[in-house]
Amino acid sequence: MLDKIGIAKRIAQEIKNNYYVNLGIGIPTLVANYIPEGINVVLQSENGLLGMGPFPIDGEEDPDLINAGKQTITTLPGSSIFDSAMSFGMIRSQKVDLTILGAMEVSENGDIANWKIPGKMVKGMGGAMDLVASAKNIIVAMQHVNKAGESKLLPECSLPLTGVKCVKKIVTELAVLEIASEGGFRLLERAPGVTIDEIKKATAGKLIIEGEIPEMKI
């Protein structure tokens, strides 16, 4: 079973050389720390920055320089700044190669819900709806089950949707799965020490298991 850092490390393996990547808040933000050596990647922050660098050292925080999670950050040589319309312009026109974000629920046809719990939470969708509606490749980083122990991989989402038929891959503490074109969660890899039965038990939606399922290499 993976911890958050393990999930981030496994997702980092999905990043290919010369990718432009948008990282959501939470686990996705951690992915930046584990990008393999020799892989060139440019991080896009949808508040208007390409080439996001690491957090600043203490005392060098700049209130004018934040990421989409409102964290103080830095730029890198080659960074560029732009306004919000251009930022989502490049997202809509699919210049961003990969979007990694969290989710409350994912359905077996690739729907995602991550912005609202009716009557309880009204934080808003931020840029998530724009990202999932346009991104060529969307990977979800999340826990396999919620705090009540219920599966977050469902036949259909119960919460208000963020986007439909858009998720390509899911990385959880238990497994790597992809959305099959015919519908269903195709199991690709097991987390170290996790059995297929454990994954079955934690997956409410249709789980597709074909052949040997290898263990992840982290």
Partner: protein
């Protein structure tokens, strides 16, 4: 050149009245028009519709206007940092229209570019699409979203000149340029007000034609919402 300078925030917002629609620049607390927000709180104008990506925090930014019950309706993409906001919303005191962030930005740009509506895939298949026209182009569905119509746009820039030209600094740019284009009247507060001729024409982000009033802001706090540092 046309002279746009006013003395201060009070003068800049003098004719903002109850029930108006305002756009307010900024992302989180970054690049928000602090002086104008404080002046609006002081003036006590109310029943406002505010278009802003966020709603500030409890004791800063638009949060101050919420505390003061000046806002009838918020149009935002993310409002998750504000307990008073959540209370007013759940109690029904505050109307809220949540809009995808890119749609919010593009509806501002559409207003500034004289385009009555735009098409975006954001929100297709979700409750954001309810009641909206859906249109298929090249096999993909898009929502038609209307340009915003705001009485005033209030933005914060780093430098500005007396002709209203603006330059923003770093990610404090965010929504400010698209909102600056979109107000019937646009007010800009700047950290550094300079004479015409001091800004390089090639580096101006918002041409002065979009700005009606500009003033030298005072006492910027520029609060940080999530101070995050790394160990060396």
């Amino acid at each position: 050149m046309i002279h746009k300078v006013v003395a201060n925030a009070d003068e800049a917002i003098r004719d903002i009245s109850n029930g108006m629609t305002l756009m307010l620049g900024g992302f989180g607390l970054c690049g928000i028009p602090e002086n104008c927000i404080n002046a609006l709180v002081k003036k006590g104008v109310n029943q406002l519709t505010c278009i802003s990506n966020n709603a500030g925090v409890d004791d800063f930014g638009i949060g101050l206007m919420l505390q003061n019950r000046q806002v009838k309706k918020m149009i935002s993409s993310y409002v998750g940092e504000n307990a008073e906001f959540e209370r007013q919303l759940l109690s029904g005191e505050l109307e809220v229209e949540l809009v995808p962030q890119g749609t919010l930005a593009t509806r501002c740009m559409a207003a500034g570019y004289g385009m009555p509506a735009i098409f975006t895939p954001a929100g297709v298949g979700t409750e954001v699409a309810i009641g909206k026209e859906i249109r298929n182009f090249n096999g993909k569905d898009y929502l038609m979203e209307k340009a915003f119509d705001a009485d005033f746009a209030i933005v914060k820039a780093w430098k500005g000149d007396s002709a209203g030209n603006l330059i923003y600094r770093s990610t404090a740019r965010n929504f400010n340029p698209v909102m600056a284009m979109a107000g019937k009247i646009t007010i800009a507060e700047v950290e550094h007000l300079v004479e015409v001729g001091e800004l390089d024409p090639d580096q101006i982000h918002t041409p002065g034609i979009y700005v009606h009033r500009i003033f030298q802001g005072q006492d910027y706090q520029k609060r940080i919402e999530q101070r995050t540092v790394r160990s060396i």
